[in-house]
């Protein structure tokens, strides 16, 4: 099995920062992939599959994070997670409300 590491910088665009709901969305997306997924920022490293860990980043709007995936589907995982940030966590179904 190919263990590739792929990383990419993402920026938190949500006005209220990476709070509980986007952290939940992010962990759900990360859990779709086999690869280990971590976020690095503010001198910390957080497991991308854990909401609790993601919340420890306290990433406010404008924070730059590096998403790092290692595993057989690293490339696809980083692509999908990058997409989530790019569309600002908007629900594809249409709701953009963040609470």
């Amino acid at each position: 099995m190919i263990q590739e590491t792929v990383s990419r910088e993402v920026v938190v665009g949500i006005r209220e920062g990476l709070h509980a709901r986007p952290a939940d969305q992010l962990a759900r997306e990360a859990r779709k992939w086999q690869s280990r997924i971590e976020f690095v920022g503010s001198g910390q490293r957080a497991d991308g599959k854990s909401i609790l860990e993601l919340l420890t980043l306290a990433a406010e709007a404008g924070t730059r994070l590096v998403v790092e995936a290692t595993g057989p589907d690293a490339r696809e995982a980083v692509e999908a997670i990058g997409g989530l940030f790019a569309r600002n966590f908007a629900d594809p179904a249409g709701s953009t409300e963040h609470t």
């Binding site: 920062g17 990476l18 962990a27 860990e53 420890t56 306290a58 609470t99």
Partner: protein, 158 residues
């Protein structure tokens, strides 16, 4: 941000009666009313707003912990409380674990930074297994208050 910056000590509950999501949220909101942190007239509106937020996605963040919350115009600063359920309550958490430890937060609509930092403090401290376990095993509100104070002053953060 520390626990003492937002947790109303008088509203802490060590053994909630409720066995449903809505029940525990109501019990905690009522404890904040009793502690004088939220106005009695706002109780229903706050419970409704927290439940509406839960409908968007569970606030169960894993490890048997949930952070039900809402913004509400009736508070002028972040207020919160802590409750423990002995038996655990199904909260539809991502990891599927029943929730035993609840941190309920009500924040002013214009202070998203405070809310984010309260979540950071809660999640950072609860990353420590020992702290998590001791909170869940606490027998009295005073014991919970003491543990939070200990975390504030020394940090269980390794």
């Amino acid at each position: 941000m520390k626990f003492s910056d937002f947790v109303a000590v008088d509203a802490i509950r060590s053994d909630v009666d409720a066995d449903t999501k809505q029940g525990v949220i109501r019990e905690m909101a009522e404890s904040l009313v009793e502690a004088g942190k939220i106005a009695p007239a706002e109780l229903e509106s706050i419970v409704k707003a927290i439940m509406k937020r839960e409908d968007l996605g569970s606030t169960g963040i894993g490890r048997g912990v949930a952070v039900p919350h809402t913004k509400h115009p009736s508070v002028d600063r972040l207020v919160g409380t802590v409750a423990v359920s002995r038996k655990g309550i199904d909260f539809e958490s991502l990891d599927g674990e029943p929730v035993q430890l609840f941190f309920l937060l009500v924040s002013p609509p214009d202070r998203p930074g405070d809310h984010l930092r309260a979540l950071e403090n809660i999640s950072r401290q609860l990353r420590d297994d020992g702290f998590c376990r001791r909170l869940k095993a606490a027998q009295t509100p005073t014991e919970i208050g003491d543990l939070l104070e200990e975390a504030d002053s020394h940090g269980f953060v390794s």
